[in-house]
């Protein structure tokens, strides 16, 4: 299996050949192959072989046209978006890909009765219409900047299959288990539940013939076992190599037949406090005390073993909107932390636990709480254990409380918690409306993910402003929004709306026999993952033809 042991001379693209089978490790079985119902990463990984995207992400996470023919043209008021399609797209049943398919897909996504776990938000859209066979026009209620990355970058499904289905009963349609009409680089062959999903090359793929003849997604749920399979040459791609931990990554890196790419992911882990009145973290000075007693860099290193980049604001380094200098950082300063606790009204008692007059009524309130953390996530649990140990110095008694995912969010959604450590995976757009705007407070308002109880009118208005900033080109829009994001990040990190811990740093491993796995800036390979760029799948090839 060992092909090229030395890495000095990169093979040129002229050597690209067709044939062979790509076997990759899928970390859990799909529950459906229906794109509208999919909600897990392994499912989207399977999807990225089968269905085309309208717009995709390039290696630097910029939105680029895929089935679309060029970037959308936007009216000067930012509300009318026109998208043209390539005329070469064909579904596997031979019919051309047209505006009807785009309309069918997006109307179904926008259908409020759609039975799905994945949240599609088409609320900014007023109307969608077919201008001609290859042109679609969107009219929005108001200018909405995330529209391109959130709504237009995504899969397109065939109208012949999904055009007339009942959105409420979509889970049980035949295409959920046997998607016969597809248009991505590979076609669906068969699905053996619990074992594998098989695909074969779509020879009429509009971006050119994919190089592998066959693709097999092998279900290997244990990341360590999958790492061994990669090293042994049983699989050629292990997308969740990072889950095998520092040991697994370093062993894979040491293997001469494996290439490991490590990249900053679109996701973060944070320490989210309940800032509502009467809760232990209701005062900004208390939160600043917490931030000042923690040595973030070394905590993140110890907890993640290098699989996390310390973070202060809620925009991750992988995003175009990231600016390391636009955040407020709290350096380790225990004396300052102690005085902040005093200023916030907490005095440390004889038992080492801080108390204050109970704001909820008579008596005193002790600084005692639980850090809710998901069971089975060792890095988060480790962070919780270290934090719990460190904050004792300033009289905070916080105990790690590992909880099963199925019931993890229930009390949080009811506002009934002290702190939780959670992971958030982000879209291509850095918009943080749902986790930071006070209109998204839960349980105060019906939905949303702003569970902290934090509300700040200035932050709200900046978020609305950022969302409404649409310029004639994508680059101009980004520049204008980035200036606003810098202000947003200052508020979030300064007020500690949430105490950020780290941005995910993920690792993927490939067999050195897989060609055209091109790493981008900073080894960034994220565009290969989930459904962000199906076309990249088509470019991989087997160097030895097997």
């Amino acid at each position: 299996m060992l092909v090229s042991a030395c890495g000095t001379s990169a093979p040129s693209t002229s050597e690209v050949k067709n044939g062979g089978t790509l076997i990759f490790a899928l970390d859990s079985d799909a529950t459906t192959l229906n794109p509208f119902v999919m909600s897990t990463v392994p499912e989207f990984r399977a999807l990225s072989f089968m269905y085309p995207n309208l717009y995709s992400a390039d290696k630097n996470l910029n939105v680029i046209p895929d089935l679309a023919d060029g970037m959308p043209s936007v009216s000067s008021d930012g509300t009318v978006w026109t998208v043209k399609l390539k005329k070469t797209g064909k579904w596997s049943d031979g019919t051309p890909m047209t505006a009807d398919d785009v309309l069918a897909t997006q109307k179904l996504q926008a259908d409020p009765t759609l039975d799905t776990d994945y949240s599609y938000d088409w609320s900014p859209l007023k109307t969608i219409e077919k201008v001609d066979t290859y042109t679609v026009r969107y009219t929005l209620n108001a200018p909405f900047a995330p529209f391109l990355a959130v709504n237009l970058a995504g899969y397109i499904a065939p109208a012949s299959v999904f055009g007339k289905v009942d959105a409420a009963k979509i889970r049980n349609m035949p295409a959920s288990t046997n998607p016969t009409v597809t248009g991505g680089p590979y076609k669906f062959d068969k699905w053996v539940p619990g074992q594998e999903i098989d695909f074969s090359a779509n020879l009429s793929y509009y971006n050119g013939r994919p190089h592998y003849d066959k693709v097999v997604a092998k279900i290997i749920t244990d990341a360590t076992a999958a790492a061994n399979a990669l090293i042994n040459g049983d699989v050629s791609w292990h997308p969740s190599l990072g889950e095998a931990g520092a040991g697994g990554i370093s062993k894979a890196k040491a293997a001469s037949n494996v290439v490991v790419h490590t990249y900053e992911d679109l996701g973060y882990i944070d320490f989210r406090m309940n800032t509502r009145k009467g809760h232990i973290f209701d005062n900004v000075m208390t939160r600043q005390a917490l931030a000042s007693v923690l040595d973030k860099a070394s905590i993140v290193q110890a907890a993640t073993q290098g699989a996390g980049a310390p973070l202060w604001g809620d925009i991750v380094p992988a995003s175009w909107a990231y600016d390391a200098n636009s955040v407020v950082k709290y350096p380790l300063d225990v004396a300052k932390a102690k005085s902040l606790m005093q200023q916030a009204g907490w005095t440390i008692g004889a038992d080492g636990v801080a108390t204050r007059p109970n704001p909820n009524g008579g008596g005193t309130q002790k600084f005692v709480g639980k850090i809710r953390v998901r069971a089975g996530k060792p890095d988060r649990l480790k962070a919780a254990e270290i934090i719990s140990d460190q904050v004792k110095q300033i009289g905070m008694q916080l105990t790690p409380d590992p909880t099963d995912f199925k019931v993890f969010y229930k009390p949080i959604q009811q506002g009934n918690f002290d702190v939780f450590i959670a992971g958030f995976s982000l879209t291509l757009d850095p918009d943080d409306y749902s986790t930071a705007s006070s209109t998204q407070l839960q349980p105060e308002h019906h939905e949303g993910q702003n569970w902290t109880g934090y509300s700040n009118p200035q932050l709200d208005s900046l978020i609305s402003q950022e969302r409404a900033t649409v310029k004639s080109t994508d680059a101009a829009t980004k520049a204008a929004r980035k200036a606003i994001f810098n202000q947003i990040e200052k508020i979030i990190s300064g007020d500690l709306q949430t105490y950020m811990l780290w941005a995910d740093v993920s690792s993927m491993g490939w067999s050195s026999n897989v060609g055209n796995v091109a790493a981008g800036n900073g080894d960034n390979t994220i565009y290969y993952d989930v459904n962000n760029n199906p076309n990249s799948r088509a470019e991989w090839y087997s160097k030895n033809g097997k």
Partner: protein, 332 residues
Amino acid sequence: MAQVPPLPLGPSAGVPGSVPNQLSIETTVQQERDLAQPGVRPDEFGGAAELGFWRLSVIRFLHHRVATGALIILGVIVLAAIVVPIITGDLYRIQDYRHPYKPPFQSLQHIFGTDDLGRDEFARLLRGARVSIMVGVLAVVGYLLIGGTLGALAGYYGGWLDNALMRFTDIIISAPFLLVVIAVTAATGGVRLTTVIIVIAATGWYEIGRLMRAQFLVLREQEFVQAARALGASNTRIILRHILPNALAPIIVSATLGVSGIILLEAALGFLGYSIPPPEPSWGNMLQEFEQYLLDDKTYLVFFPATALVITALCINLVGDGIRDALDPRQR
């Protein structure tokens, strides 16, 4: 110590081929009366001092070298698990997270090295021993209480009660243990050691229950029981004073073996993240935390808890076998 069993008639009467009993019914009644009076020593029953059943068993056990050796090792482990954590105190959770992974056997301060947060592995191992052994013992006590009571009632009274209890046992046997643990953990809002113990006890008692029932079914028809009944002894008295002591031997063996089974089960649960929450260690969650280091040079973090687990379980099983041989020489 060396108490004569409440009814010396019992064991020999029940064993075919044993020396025919020399005692008459009258003596038995006299003995019962004597036993009710404090201060009366067994020797005063008259006749030569006989070696009692239990004392004989102890002698037989001590002749079993492997079992005795296992018992000594087990005693050391249990003693260490009780004593060492008292001496080391909070050492098991004192972190040095900036300098983790001190290798083992390099310094006396951390003889087994330190873990991912720089905590002393030796202190954690023994603290974990406490958890593992405590879960094992408490859950077996639960087995004995639930299984013993239900089995005794079913076996003694028979009839519809027996039927009902045995069908209930069937239901318990078919309960998917892991799912029950996960469901109960979810319903009670988090991972708790008490939850784990209760669930293990509530779902695992059936073996002892069935064993107890079988013993009672046999023993209740024995002559000495009929004699006691003829003398007007109440059901409670017959169950507790006459049948139970004679039914104990196989139960003790089963319970001993049960402890090792539960320790392994706790480890499996800990491995899945359903045992005691941190910073408390148990062998299972120590294994779980360090599974990934199997691919690394930090295998000692897996090696120590795994070895401790295997040695303890093995010793308990050997002791259990020894007890079986000692209590029931026919089964050799």
